[in-house]
Amino acid sequence: MDGVQNLPPHIQGQFMQNLEQMQMKDSLTMYNNLVERCFNSCVSSFRSKSLDKYETSCVENCASRYIKMTQRVGLRFAEHQAMQQKRAADALGAGK
């Protein structure tokens, strides 16, 4: 994440704005992907116009599990990044 930290301050504001826009776009994209994923995995018959009880609970469970897994993956990813940065800092310190 070096590129982000090395931005001069007056550009950082613009970057934060870009970041907000990206996050908004990304959350909408995630929503669409989640719907498609849960639909593909839970709904297979088209006998009626509305979701039956099994499909409803399946879709809800699928969404909740995906969100929980995303949160957990994010946690592990952040840990991994922190460890890498620490290793980089240590290597830099040791090199001096």
Partner: protein
């Protein structure tokens, strides 16, 4: 070694846009670089979450919570995915270098032929 591959991975992402060897692009627009880096991390995260969900959670979706096995599976999935990304980065870096060398040789050959 992990740190070197991490630096090289950044070089790969930056090389394709700037053709430079530096990690921090001083010349070209740093805002673009930072935005692109952010986008890369976003894509990485989304792909990783999708892949791990596909591989680790059962299709039945009977429960709204993750089972213990699924949780440990997702932890291992994350670390394997990131390790795979580093290894792919190394391979890409080598391919880039080989291609650059090839182009340099070609240019030198053309110069030698044109000089006669």
């Amino acid at each position: 070694i992990a740190e070197i591959t991490r630096v090289k991975r950044k070089q790969i992402t930056m090389n394709s846009f700037f053709g430079q060897k530096e990690e921090k692009p001083a010349g070209p627009d740093p805002l673009f670089a930072a935005t692109t880096e952010m986008e890369m991390y976003t894509h990485l995260f989304n792909n990783m979450a999708a892949a791990c969900f596909e591989k680790c959670s059962s299709r039945k979706h009977k429960e709204p919570d993750l089972a213990l096995g699924e949780m440990s599976c997702s932890d291992r999935c994350v670390s394997k995915y990131l390790e795979a990304q580093e290894k792919v980065g190394v391979v890409l870096q080598k391919a880039n270098e080989a291609q650059a060398l090839q182009q340099k040789n070609l240019a030198e050959m053309q110069n030698a032929l044109g000089g006669r």
